[in-house]
């Protein structure tokens, strides 16, 4: 959900680009944080917690609390509230602690 009209603010965006969440194609503005692009698409669950596998989303939205960690282009534990969206980014709902092995085996 995006805000299009506001009594005080005007929003400036980069160009609209495509990226994927778990293989599903979504659109967001280039340069906005990945988590914001996901929220705008109605996605609030970003990962499973490391031990109990509970759903987690954004909490602080300023790169401090580590609640929003996701796997981005194969790299786990990316703080998506401050990671900027780029065209073609492959974003994945992170399972538990995330893994570098999946990425390595793809390459290998």
């Amino acid at each position: 959900m995006r805000l299009t009209q506001h009594p005080v603010l005007e929003f400036q965006h980069g160009p609209l680009v495509r990226f994927t969440l778990d293989g599903r194609v979504l659109e967001g503005y280039e340069g906005e944080p990945v988590a914001m692009a996901l929220l705008a698409n109605g996605v609030s669950v970003l990962r499973e917690s490391p031990v109990l596998g509970r759903p987690r989303g954004v909490f602080c939205a300023q790169g401090h609390c580590a609640s929003c960690l996701m796997t981005v282009d194969g790299r786990p534990n990316v703080r998506t509230c401050v990671e900027k969206l780029r065209a073609g980014m492959q974003v994945e709902t992170q399972k538990r602690k995330g893994s570098l092995l999946a990425r390595d085996s793809e390459k290998g």
């Binding site: 959900m1 995006r2 805000l3 299009t4 506001h6 009594p7 005080v8 603010l9 929003f11 965006h13 906005e32 944080p33 914001m36 929220l39 705008a40 609030s44 669950v45 970003l46 917690s49 509970r54 759903p55 987690r56 989303g57 954004v58 909490f59 602080c60 939205a61 300023q62 790169g63 401090h64 609390c65 609640s67 509230c81």
Partner: protein, 361 residues
């Protein structure tokens, strides 16, 4: 070296630049201004304190004044990750890692939002108030459709108003305390728009399959104990926590500054004298990291810390004495009213601890 480019750090950088002292200003965000960039409400008070201006405009003004001075190196998107025994600070920048050993450091690192303990408090949809402000006011993204606001301090009621401005429904604004914490001018804005404000009321639990779907509140008795049977269930997709801030003191701790527990000002704080100097001679602290207050006092503290730091480096600001006295007077005036009783209690607790330090050194 100034760590943090919010109101305190920006004011410190401008003051150091006026004194002709070269400085490096480091901020982890891309844009200077700290929390000011998401503040859309008008400040009030006197013109000297930016009354009538909105936070994001104040940030832009300070940043352009700093750029106009042309003496400060600004590192944005950069994080100070450590302060080492030999006085070296490690800085992670977009262009690689830097190691600097500043002759003086002003830590203006601000504060982090506190969470609240209740069952299912980790469900997606439960956000810090600052996070909601960032979503709505910086990125134009709505956190949801129906919000329960927890906290009636200035942040709680201001963010409630900003959500209403953005067309989001605020079902209620609750607070465990028996009284509204915010300035009445802010609280009245949401009351006029029909948002129910419940004091002596807290969150019992949150619920939902996979994300927040409902919030259950209950009332508290005069001793702060929950009263079973007073539960209310709200169907909400967002719960916004505005339950206070904790000063970020990691760098001060690493530098060996002595800290004290000052609950009125947010938690553990470095012991500070009138000049914002810590117990480590060349380290100063200003802003919420020196005790959680608000942006105006943060700016005054930042200037005060910079005056002291420049004097310590043997390059005092040309108007050091006059400026220092004016800043101290303004701070005393801002902390003088009945709304600042808690701040005064915290400051006097810190002064007692400070006296203890002198007695034991």
């Amino acid at each position: 070296m100034i760590v943090g480019g919010g109101p305190a750090g920006l004011a410190a950088a401008v003051t150091a630049a006026e004194a002709g002292v070269p400085a490096v200003l480091v901020d982890r965000n891309e844009t200077l201004g700290g929390q000011l960039i998401k503040q859309t409400h008008r400040f009030f008070g006197s013109r000297d304190h930016y009354s009538g201006e909105r936070g994001f405009a104040i940030a832009a003004q300070l940043a352009s004044r700093l750029a106009g001075c042309g003496r400060t190196e600004v590192l944005t998107g950069s994080t100070v990750f450590g302060y080492y025994e030999d006085g070296v600070m490690g800085i992670h920048t977009p262009r690689g890692t830097l190691h600097l050993r500043p002759e003086a450091a002003i830590l203006a690192t601000g504060a982090a939002e506190k969470a609240l303990a209740f069952p299912n408090n980790d469900l997606p949809g439960i956000y810090g108030a600052g996070a909601v402000q960032t979503m709505v006011n910086v990125w134009g993204v709505l956190p949801g459709r129906r919000v329960l606001m927890v906290g009636t301090g200035n942040i709680g009621v201001i963010v409630s108003y900003q959500l209403l401005q953005a067309g989001v429904e605020v079902v209620a604004c609750i607070d465990a305390a028996p009284r509204i914490g915010a300035f009445w001018v802010h609280a009245a804005k949401i009351a006029r728009l029909g948002v129910p404000i419940h004091t002596s009321c807290t969150v019992k639990e949150a619920g939902g399959r996979g994300r927040l779907e409902e919030a259950v509140t209950w009332r508290l008795d005069d001793d702060g104990r929950p009263r079973p049977g007073t539960e209310e269930v709200y169907a909400v997709d967002v719960m916004c926590l505005a339950v206070g801030l904790s000063p970020l003191t990691e760098l001060a701790r690493q530098a060996g500054c002595r800290l004290a527990w000052v609950p009125e000002l947010g938690g553990y704080l470095p012991l500070l004298d009138d000049n914002m100097a810590t117990t480590v001679p060349h380290i100063f602290v200003a802003g919420d990291g020196a005790g959680v207050e608000e942006a105006t006092t943060a700016m005054l503290e930042g200037s005060l810390a910079a005056l002291a730091a420049c004097a310590r480096l043997g390059r005092p600001h040309p108007e050091h004495g006059v400026r220092r006295e004016a800043l101290l007077n303004e701070l005393a005036a801002l902390r003088g009213g009945p709304a600042a009783a808690r701040i005064r209690a915290g400051r006097s607790r810190m002064q007692r601890e400070e006296g203890f330090r002198h007695a034991t050194n």
